[in-house]
Assembly symmetry: C2
Homo-oligomer: 402 residues x 2
């Protein structure tokens, strides 16, 4: 039977894109997984979670397994609001929605703001999962260059001015990961943050701030766009995925109450009372600042190990910037097609994510790749970088005809 | 700031409906909650879940908290497939998608099949959450009468024929709860099931079969539409909400692989590895058939208690049918506006769901209400029915001018 005839045009159009997760390399057993943006196993508070759930069920019995009634699940919202307040983001109850991960929050925001006629702007490169989402709604995606200090807001301004002058549609939404960006690791300086907020007022767009890595700084804490926003322009997305564990599927979005109400209209997985109550209980038993300090120290150390390995093993044609937080290092390999190289790398026992997946125009990412220093142990990480460097060197030599 | 200007027309239209959950009564503390379609507290295997999670985390450590890697989470799919097979629904891996509850599955199916130009058909009355979902996509909702034996398929056929003759759009999707329907408790006989499947072929529509209550039969097990479907017309939705607990948010949909792929395209909360692995572990420790038998016996007994209380206390103007499974009894109260009565009932200490919420045309539900016998203990249930009966009797007497 042909089901195509049942799909509305907008769905048919979305189904023409690459399928979800096309970027995930098919990593063989035993391969060193520098592709994975996962927390380190030893930094996931597994035992505390188990103990918390035991305490929760002893206290609340079946309530966290029902639709409503779990006090602990409700308390998660209070915890998140206190945490946001501590980061200069005072938020009313009606301005917060807990979601099943940050990605769902991005999808729900796209759902209420975008259709096939809408224009959205994203960084180039940007988070491939967000790109997948926006491509489900519209083909009108414009891109803003990113350098080692994040989104080039001057270029954004020029582009918006030109579009306005030429009568081209302006973006309704600008998606950005200002702090320790995925994939570049770049951190937007304060003056660019302020500039972006000014542009939102001038050109009347909303900003989707993805702050998945904002608390994982190795130096000073960046001020979120949300904390600087005086005009209700920012829709903020946070997540437990990088600071607790992604399999829990807990994220949130903060926005003006009217937008939160609209977003919640379309959230049909409902509240995940059991997981929310479990995490809420865990958070009463965890010193969050101490937990964050452990994460920062551990990931800073891993970053340093990876940087050292890169310095030691990579040929000079390969370049990168030092990230001040987050999970990733973004490599440029002059003259190497990282998409074509991936299979060889997997055979050589190391995985990465080819740059192409982080761009709307894939060819822009041809010579880039993303490495993650978050999840692999130090020894393996060094060995993974060495394997990759060997491969790159061979490839570069081949090119030179040696 | 006015955010309306940022919404696409389809979203603006959806936001004109009642907000989600408008049907949920604002139940005061201590009120007897005959409105709640929850499992009984003592039938939720809370302790076994706690023990299962302890075992899971000892075995798999951080893996269930990561994106992928939990063997137990994967095993849930196998368990569901074995269970479907036992109910004469052999299903390939590619034909199953685990969702965050049955409601999400309904929403995702609506997402890939409906837009503002599409027509969908639903039972009248039908599940109010499903109605909310369809109304988010289209205003073209046609309704099929339900009697004590479920959807009136003969009337559906007549309507479809008339629409075809008059050049009116035919539904792309027919949503039904054939077994122990919410809210009527009716069970579609085999001949109507076969008739509906024939109509799908003749009039070229797909069927969304919501089987949330299918395993909670008090007599014989009905054959699902999916098990009778020889032509790939049925998209099946199942759920753990009524047989384990809704706060876990575990459901699934079964459909031809092509449709499952399309549905998954838009599922952006990703896989809930932790909950899936937890439930999967629980299921290895639970004798499912025995668990179902306990549920059936307990809910049958509660149904009987409610029926007896209704017989004893309700005036003769109130009528109902005896459900052979599920959670609900559907009352008709001649001459009583159940929406208007609700506040008094809540003050008298009993809650129900007014009939209006189960209909596209709300006035059709004016004299109906839904009672749930699933979650309230026997004594409270009898007392709740007595309170409601007292109120109804007063109201009826008032009408008669006594």
């Amino acid at each position: 039977m042909n089901y195509d005839v049942f799909y509305p045009p907008s769905i048919k159009s979305a189904l023409e894109n690459d399928p979800p997760g096309a970027w995930i390399p098919d990593v063989p057993q035993g391969c060193i997984r520098l592709s994975a943006g996962y927390p380190a196993a030893e930094l996931v508070p597994t035992l505390q979670l188990g103990a918390s759930i035991e305490a929760l069920l002893a206290e609340e019995k079946d309530l966290p397994l029902q639709y409503i009634g779990s006090h602990r699940a409700v308390m998660l919202r209070d915890w998140i609001r206190r945490r946001l307040m501590a980061r200069n983001m005072p938020v009313a109850e009606t301005e917060l929605l807990v979601t099943a991960g940050g990605i769902q929050a991005i999808d729900l925001i796209a759902r209420v703001l975008l259709d096939a006629t809408a224009t959205v702007a994203v960084e180039a490169p940007t988070y491939m999962e967000a790109l997948e989402i926006f491509q489900n709604y519209t083909r009108n995606i414009i891109t803003i260059p990113v350098d080692e200090r994040g989104m080039c807001t001057v270029q954004l301004e020029q582009m918006l001015q030109q579009r306005a002058e030429n009568g081209l549609p302006l973006p309704r939404l600008v998606y950005t990961i200002p702090s320790f960006q995925n994939p570049t690791g770049s951190n937007l300086p304060l003056e660019r943050r302020r500039h972006l907020l000014e542009l939102a007022e001038t050109f009347d767009f909303l900003i989707l701030e993805d702050d998945a890595y904002g608390e994982l700084s190795f130096a000073s804490d960046p001020a979120t766009l949300k904390s600087l926003d005086g005009h209700g322009r920012v829709l903020y997305v946070g997540s437990m995925s990088k600071v607790l564990g992604p399999g829990l599927r807990i994220g949130w979005t903060v926005a003006p109450a009217e937008l939160i109400q609209a977003i919640n209209w379309f959230k049909k997985d409902l509240d995940h009372a059991f997981v929310e109550a479990s995490i809420s209980t865990l958070l009463t038993r965890l010193d969050w600042n101490q937990h964050l300090t452990s994460l920062r120290n551990a990931y800073r150390r891993r970053r340093d190990v990876m940087l050292q390995a890169l310095d030691q093993h990579m040929p000079e044609t390969v370049t990168w910037h030092v990230p001040d937080g987050g999970y990733f290092i973004w490599l440029q390999l002059v003259g190497v097609d990282t998409g074509a190289l991936l299979n060889e790398a997997l055979q050589a026992g190391v995985s990465y994510v080819p740059g192409q997946y982080f761009f709307v125009k894939k060819e822009q990412g041809r010579t880039f790749l993303r490495l993650s220093f978050s999840s692999v142990g130090e020894q393996d990480m060094v060995e993974g970088v060495r394997r990759l460097a060997d491969l790159v060197r061979t490839r570069t030599l081949e090119k030179k005809g040696v």
